[in-house]
Amino acid sequence: MLSRDAEHLYWLSRYVERVENTARLINVNSELMLDFPGDKTLGWQSIIETLDNVDIYQRRYMTFKEANVINFLCYEEANPNSIKNSLIKAAYNVKETRDYLPQSATEQVNNLLNEFNRGTFKVRRGQPKDLYKLIEGSQRFFGIINDNFSTGLVFEFIRLGRYIERVDMISRTLDTLCVSKKNSQTHDFSTLEWASMLRNLSAQGAYREEAKGEIERGSVLRFLFKNRGFPRSLNTCLREIDKCVAVLPNNSLLKEEVYKVIERIMSSRVESYDDDKLHTFLDNLQGKISNLDQRIHKSWFHLHA
């Protein structure tokens, strides 16, 4: 397979997954804010911070008002990761790779962008319906892919992109909680925000099955970091990445790096970390994920530079 085609497939998948994850991130925060006493802008500021978007944001907006942040995350043209831009870039990558894709997958991406551009989606707090539609739209794309492939390079690069994006976003979502609490100087939201976190990763069922009983910080963290099987735990995502890497050529360096990240997570004692320590750990983890992404580019897309 041409490196360029592989790269387009990888990024197609990342952008489609990013749409879903951004929608989830807005949702988790919307719900949290309802329970947040005091200054409501702090929670929204933490989202922008965990996404490393503060500079671009502050060039456009004065305050971290909820309406501003939602607009920034969904529609802002200057935000390279807004849902709108993610959809545009997904559609561009689809166009470049459509010979590899089932027609229904191509149409799914194009339709989602067209609907979004037509203004069918009106994302506001307390109106999660349209966020769900975006999540659904992204999932349908991957559903079509899974229904049409079970092996092969196309499938692997799409899967690889999806799980890299997901690992990145889960770690950022978890980080939102640490950062927001640090900023607000309040503490102990008891089980509320962890329950909402689970809900928004569609994890409460799976968590209940494993943890039973009360929702409590340590076990939620253990679940979201280390569970093996639930598709939105860091451990599962990394193992999926490992499976993709295993069937691709020139994979030895990357295999090792993925393994190291898994090791780091499994040997940590995140269950007992306080917010500061967790934040540092997640920050570090994001660096490692970004290294994985770079290694992927070096191994298959830009190996000829």
């Binding site: 490196s3 360029r4 559609a91 166009k95 010979d99 962008l113």
Partner: protein
């Protein structure tokens, strides 16, 4: 109520279905009767079925002047009434085209080597050596099977005498063949019964023949040389065709950035497994964009060092760089002479009478009888810059003559050909519309001519502009053995 053929005009043009006494020709009788049994409503329904088949298959094209909008490519316009040609007639055309392209290829190789034709004929040498299509770096090159224009698309018309003439030869990067193939696929869906009863000759061999042609032009000894199709990318108007052909042949569709020429002067493609050597490049980008070191320096479409690799015969570039010198309307007028010169044969298909405007006498003739002629710039394609004397205003005439005086070598004139017509659907009725035909001729170890070709039709009443970029449509072309 069924439609009627009674009021269908059959003059002053040659109509391919009906003769001047309003009778069907033998090979169109059956389909003519079938169409005559349909009501306007039936016609609309068939037209809708055709359009929706094209939409769902995603057959599209784009016009350059339009701003690129994602998902807004135009559906390919196909008129569902086929154009029908008798096999006996076609056999002769086929031979004529093979002969013609053979001579053209020999001419191109001659121009870059001994220049015998230039020395021995009346052709003005500067027509070649000063042409922007002439590439100094081709001098001394001899190619496998002397195949420079390995894929040629020649445009044919039928004049009022009902005989095919060559209007022009597109030797550089002719497009349209995918639409010929897709038109047939659509028609089979819409009219499955007709095909069973008509004995229409199949067109589907083209991708295989193209593949074999490319293989035969490879310098590598491998039976399965590494071949790629080089496209300018998704914004090109013919990208649909590029991706279609690559897929049909099972070869990679690459862009310039996917290729690299290393110090060993070989071309490699960048794959996830590393660099893979490329033997044959079927390129669909223009000469000047192939290699920034040998043409347009700002070009990001091409590959640095590509021409040098080609000169060393490390890679085959199809069509060969520099083959455009014979793709010029002034050179066109010499093709019959080339056929006699190189092949010692008489031309099987004729040219249209062509007057070079650099010739003073010819210019005077055109000036006096402007209305009878069509004026064409020699180096344009796609129907751009053509002036039809009959429909030009006084001002347009003066402007055209001024342009010619300024740069006479850049213009030719041809007597206005009365393009033939064929019944064509137009909002619930059937009317005659003008058409031409673009067959494709492959030259490798063997040669091959498409069975028929792409018929292009002017959809507007009275218009003779068939280009899809300017409101033209297309038809499926049937070669029938009757």
């Amino acid at each position: 109520m069924a439609i009627s053929w009674k009021n269908y005009p059959t003059s002053p043009f040659f109509d391919e279905y009906l003769n001047t006494s309003q009778r069907f020709r033998t090979h169109t009788k059956k389909i003519g009767k079938f169409l005559g049994s349909l009501s306007p409503n039936d016609l609309n329904e068939i037209n809708n079925a055709t359009e929706s088949a094209i939409k769902s298959m995603g057959i599209s094209f784009r016009i350059y002047s339009e701003e690129y909008v994602e998902g807004q490519d135009r559906s390919w316009p196909l008129d569902f009434i086929p154009r029908i040609i008798r096999k006996k007639e076609w056999d002769k055309v086929e031979k004529g085209l093979e002969q013609r392209v053979k001579a053209l290829n020999l001419f191109i190789e001659d121009c870059y080597n001994d220049q015998k034709f230039l020395k021995e004929s009346d052709m003005d040498e500067s027509l070649i050596t000063e042409s922007p299509a002439f590439k100094e770096y081709c001098m001394g090159m001899k190619l496998k099977h002397s195949s420079w224009s390995s894929i040629c698309g020649s445009d044919l018309i039928k004049d009022k005498d009902g005989i095919f003439y060559v209007l022009e030869d597109n030797l550089r990067v002719p497009s349209g063949v995918s639409y010929m193939l897709e038109n047939r696929t659509v028609m089979k869906r819409v009219f499955p019964d007709l095909f069973q009863h008509y004995g229409v000759m199949p067109v589907g061999a083209y991708p295989t023949k193209l593949y074999e042609t490319l293989v035969s032009l490879s310098y590598s000894r491998s039976r399965q040389p590494e071949m790629v199709l080089l496209t300018p990318g998704i914004y090109n108007s013919a990208y649909y065709e590029h991706s279609y052909l690559a897929q049909q042949m099972g070869i990679d569709l690459v862009q310039g950035t996917d290729l690299v020429v290393l110090k060993d002067n070989f071309v490699y493609k960048k794959t996830i497994e590393g660099l893979v050597r490329v033997d044959v490049i079927y390129r669909r980008i223009d000469d000047d964009f192939l290699d920034p070191s040998r043409g347009n320096k700002d070009s990001v479409l091409g590959v640095e060092g590509l021409i040098e690799s080609w000169r060393k015969k490390h890679v085959s570039i199809i069509n060969a760089p520099g083959c455009g010198i014979a793709d010029d309307k002034a050179v066109y007028s010499f093709v019959p002479e080339m056929i006699k010169f190189y092949l010692k044969e008489e031309p099987i298909i004729e040219n249209l009478k062509t007057y070079l405007m650099s010739d003073k006498e010819s210019f005077e003739l055109i000036k006096d009888r402007f209305k009878e002629f069509v004026i064409k710039p020699v180096a344009e394609s796609g129907g751009y810059g053509i002036v039809i004397g009959k429909s030009a205003s006084k001002k347009e005439k003066e402007e055209t003559l001024k342009l010619i005086r300024k740069d006479p070598r850049n213009y030719i004139a041809q007597p206005l050909a009365l393009l033939s017509t064929t019944p064509t659907y137009d909002k619930g009725s059937i009317e005659p519309r003008h058409l031409d035909l673009r067959p494709f001729i492959l030259t490798g170890e063997k040669s091959y001519v498409t069975v028929g070709g792409l018929t292009r039709v002017a959809l507007k009443k009275g218009s003779t502009v068939v280009n899809s970029s300017q409101g033209g449509g297309s038809k499926d072309t049937w070669i029938v053995d009757k």
